[in-house]
């Protein structure tokens, strides 16, 4: 008996010993059996482009050099933010912004704020402004205090 015939006989033996008929895939049955997984596949596809963008970012961020560069840029940005001119200063505001009427302009809080802002000059200027609004253009701060104190 030659080798080819022996091999054929062995092939027949194997085929006859185990069920090797082609299995058929039933898609509908599978979907019913695994609805969650199929739904995840179909619905998850809609967010794929977004995931792809982050995928690119994650690939870039795998590089150690990229990580160090990002860390350096972040630290420089924080340093520049802290050291920028006028970072710790309060924004200058005109007295009109917080004192709308002459009465408000001469309250103790308002006057204190004016003094803090520009010393006696600012205080006097605010009083003059209050007096101008009241129609007494020539009234000085001293006159105003005298008037207020009787």
């Amino acid at each position: 008996m030659n080798e080819q015939k022996d091999e054929k006989w062995l092939d027949e033996l194997i085929s006859g010993s185990i069920d090797t008929s082609e299995p058929k895939f039933d898609a509908e049955q599978w979907k019913q059996k695994h609805p969650g997984e199929f739904q995840a596949l179909v619905e998850g596809g809609a967010i794929l482009p977004r995931a792809g963008r982050f995928g690119v970012l994650s690939i870039v961020m795998r590089s150690r050099i990229a990580q160090v560069a990002v860390a350096a840029v972040f630290m420089i940005a924080v340093g520049l933010f802290i050291a920028r001119p006028g970072h710790d200063r309060q924004p200058q505001r005109e007295p009109d912004q917080w004192a709308k009427s002459p009465a408000e302009m001469v309250t103790s809080a308002s006057l204190r704020m004016a003094y803090n802002r520009g010393g006696m000059e600012a205080l006097e200027e605010q009083c003059d402004r209050a007096a101008r609004i009241l129609g007494q253009g020539s009234l000085s701060m001293v006159d105003l205090f005298e008037d207020l104190n009787g």
Binding site: M1, H34, F38, L41
Partner: protein, 177 residues
């Protein structure tokens, strides 16, 4: 659709095309059943495992970076599913699709073949099952195992030689093998 390469179908499926995914399932179902069958020795259980592998693949498909390696990736999932079954229950390593009564010579030979198949290494048994599942083409076996057709041929030849040797030791086919 049947002629479309795997990578195109995988790409479409990853974008939520269910039909592309079921086409992939249809294409690789016999191979996955063969792999699970070679490990579990139970055809019906193998079909369940293959279907579970597709379910896992559906969830994890977007993690697959090299779309052209879908078949190998799916086979790895299928093996893991089969291993989980083996771990979680008493191994069903007996290849007993066709119960032998032991009455006839034919059945006795079949029993010996099944016993010989059990003695083969997992990779050798896998290639035998893949090849014998409805004469699966070498091209598909190559895609699933990730090895060349020449390597498959060599592995299959060695597996058959071993099988013949085991059968000879059992006293079967002495005249022919």
């Amino acid at each position: 659709m049947a002629q479309e390469p795997d990578s195109g179908l995988v790409e479409a499926a990853a974008y939520g095309d269910g039909d592309s995914f079921t086409e992939l399932c249809r294409r690789y179902y016999p191979a996955m059943v063969a792999i699970a069958h070679s490990m579990l020795g139970d055809r019906h259980l193998a079909e369940d495992v293959a279907q579970q592998a597709f379910a896992t693949a559906a969830v994890k498909l977007r993690q697959l970076r090299q779309k052209e390696q879908f078949a190998g990736w799916l086979a790895a999932i299928c093996r893991n599913e089969a291993r989980d079954i083996l771990r979680s229950r008493k191994p069903v390593c007996s290849i007993e699709d066709r119960p032998a009564t032991g009455e006839s010579d034919e059945n006795a030979v079949c029993e010996s073949v099944r016993a010989a198949l059990k003695k083969l290494s997992a990779s050798a048994r896998e290639v035998v099952f893949l090849r014998f599942y409805d004469d699966m083409p070498y091209e598909q076996i190559s895609a699933v195992l990730g090895i060349s057709e020449q390597s498959i041929n060599g592995r299959l030849r060695r597996a058959k030689k071993k099988l013949a040797e085991y059968l000879r030791r059992d006293g079967y086919g002495e005249a022919r093998l």
